[in-house]
Subunit: 333 residues, 2 copies
């Protein structure tokens, strides 16, 4: 569990896109995003107060989160002076980058000397159990997709926000690095050892109030040959009561696999439901979530209407149109 | 790659079942099983020459394989004297036990001093790639099952033996600890990190001659909620041309999951084929393999005939009846 609130470190981000982790935290957990730290030449701006380390400390920040990725996703030498000062001033550090804070000898030494914690959310810190398949109390929704990187995290976050606004009980359950940094907790599923994947998701979504919803971030796709095993572990470990099918209509092939076409929404719905019912025979598909960022307003509405007519399921872009209809459908489960 | 041939260490095995790894090596790779080493009180016997370390060395043995598991699957202190002597006499050690040879300080120190290798086949030693889904040359068969521990390894080994006897080109591809110790190579799939599961199987079954068959050991089951992700990674990474469906007819529930019934052979066939065709649209189910060890001769034949009538697929217990009909079916692919 990462201590909040955060100072968002934007470093020397070459553009806004490089700071998408910081953007995600600011969009979805603005109460955690107290300020930003930008180095000379930084081209990203979250519109948050620029703070020195001392100012952030005075404002109550507990953790400096590396909200920027440079080319290669590694920890830059140019950041080191700030990161070391942050440890010395009493901040923990959190990072989702490929190379680990703990493997940087200078950072590790200062963290030891100052008693601060280095959170590398890319690697698990829990010894997860093997899944036992026992039926748990509470409700669970899982976002499944026709492909990777198609909007599953945003879908679960949008549903979570709408549920909170309605005063319903819900928890976004992060299964990837960005989601973990946004919420401060979760399972970095792609880094879990095979035997413990489903068990890690049972651990993440334990028994809860009968009217509480876990909104589980999906990963991969049953139809993506590189990562499908991760997806099936989520379906069986998550034991979902409801699936939302996520799709991006302009993609020409599976991400990273030029020879693989995307499956249809119906194929994903049918395959995922059949597998989900092994763990929870009552599971249903409640809606479709379309990532319409490449479409105009009219195109987006027309595409959603077409999918809704085809599938009979409420179909929206929850980021663009709101998640109200998805939440209505979940309440009817 | 573990150097062969082996001296099989049976230790103080309390019964024959405790030595099932040694039994597997002796049954499937008798050319690797030169001798056995038994301690006082050992109740297992492979029918191999009992050898001292010096005799085994003279007979050409390269590796002492721990072919026995005591309660808890850990390395026994009672074995240490022999294991240390073996390193000193020039043997490598190989083990599939839960606690690792390399984590035993005394063994690690002697191995370093003598320049010998400790093979812990429970953990991967290769940095596997992420799967790329590229179509590979050569043919591949995968054993899939209604449950875990149902005969998938034996099925692949039986088909491999029959193919070798016919002079066909084949390789048994081990994906579990026992299979790796039997053949000296393979992927310990349940210990691979999630993101690299499918890639590890692509690595295990590379491009090959057009008429060569990889016979891939299956793991788990698409319908076993604890391990299904591992199974799907095998289906997508293995890119099989042919599936053999494995089943044990007397099991009352999924292994370790008392509340989960076994799926039917037809359910497994249909779900596995649908998923396999994502990676290889030409994949077909070629036969069923029934583990009939709990049935009489007549019951076994009757059960196989019933499954064959129901599914239209050649159905045998390859360990009891031979794998000839399965190999005939593979040759027709």
């Amino acid at each position: 569990m990462i201590e909040t609130p955060y100072l968002l470190f934007l470093g020397d981000a070459p553009d806004a896109l490089a700071a998408k982790v910081a953007q995600g935290i600011k969009d979805w957990r603005p109460e955690f995003a107290v300020g930003q730290f930008r180095m000379e030449g930084c081209k990203a701006d979250m519109g948050l107060p620029d703070m020195t380390l001392a100012e952030a400390k005075a404002a109550g920040c507990k953790t400096l989160v590396i909200g920027v990725a440079n080319r290669g996703g590694v920890i830059s030498q140019a950041w080191k002076k700030v990161l070391i000062s942050a440890l010395e001033e009493g901040f923990d550090l959190a990072s989702g980058l490929h190379n680990l804070l703990r493997d940087e000898e200078d950072l590790a030494a200062v963290a030891r000397a100052t008693g601060r914690t280095l959170h590398d959310v890319r690697v698990p810190t829990v010894d997860y159990p093997i899944a036992n398949g026992r039926k748990r109390t509470g409700k669970r929704m899982l976002a499944v997709g026709t492909d990777c990187s198609i909007g599953k995290m945003y879908t679960a976050l949008c549903v979570d926000r709408e549920m909170r606004e309605r005063g319903l009980k819900s928890s976004f359950r992060a299964t990837g690095q960005t989601g973990i940094l946004i919420t401060g907790d979760g399972v970095p599923l792609d880094a879990v050892i095979a035997d413990f994947m489903a068990g890690s998701i049972e651990h993440l979504t334990p028994d809860n109030d009968a009217d509480h919803w876990d909104l589980i971030e999906g990963q991969g796709s049953l139809f993506h040959v590189s990562y499908s095993g991760v997806t099936l572990a989520l379906i069986h470990g998550g034991q979902p009561d409801a699936l939302v099918i996520c799709h991006e209509p302009t993609r020409s092939h599976m991400r990273g696999l030029p020879d693989y076409k995307l499956p249809s929404i119906e194929q994903v719905r049918d395959a995922a439901l059949a597998m989900a019912r092994v763990a929870n025979p009552a599971c249903v598909a409640v809606g479709c979530s379309i990532n319409t960022q490449a479409l105009s307003d009219e195109e987006a509405l027309a595409y959603c209407a077409e999918v809704e007519a085809r599938t009979g399921l409420p179909t929206v872009d929850p980021f663009r149109h709101g998640a109200g209809r998805l939440v209505d459908a979940l309440m009817a489960v």
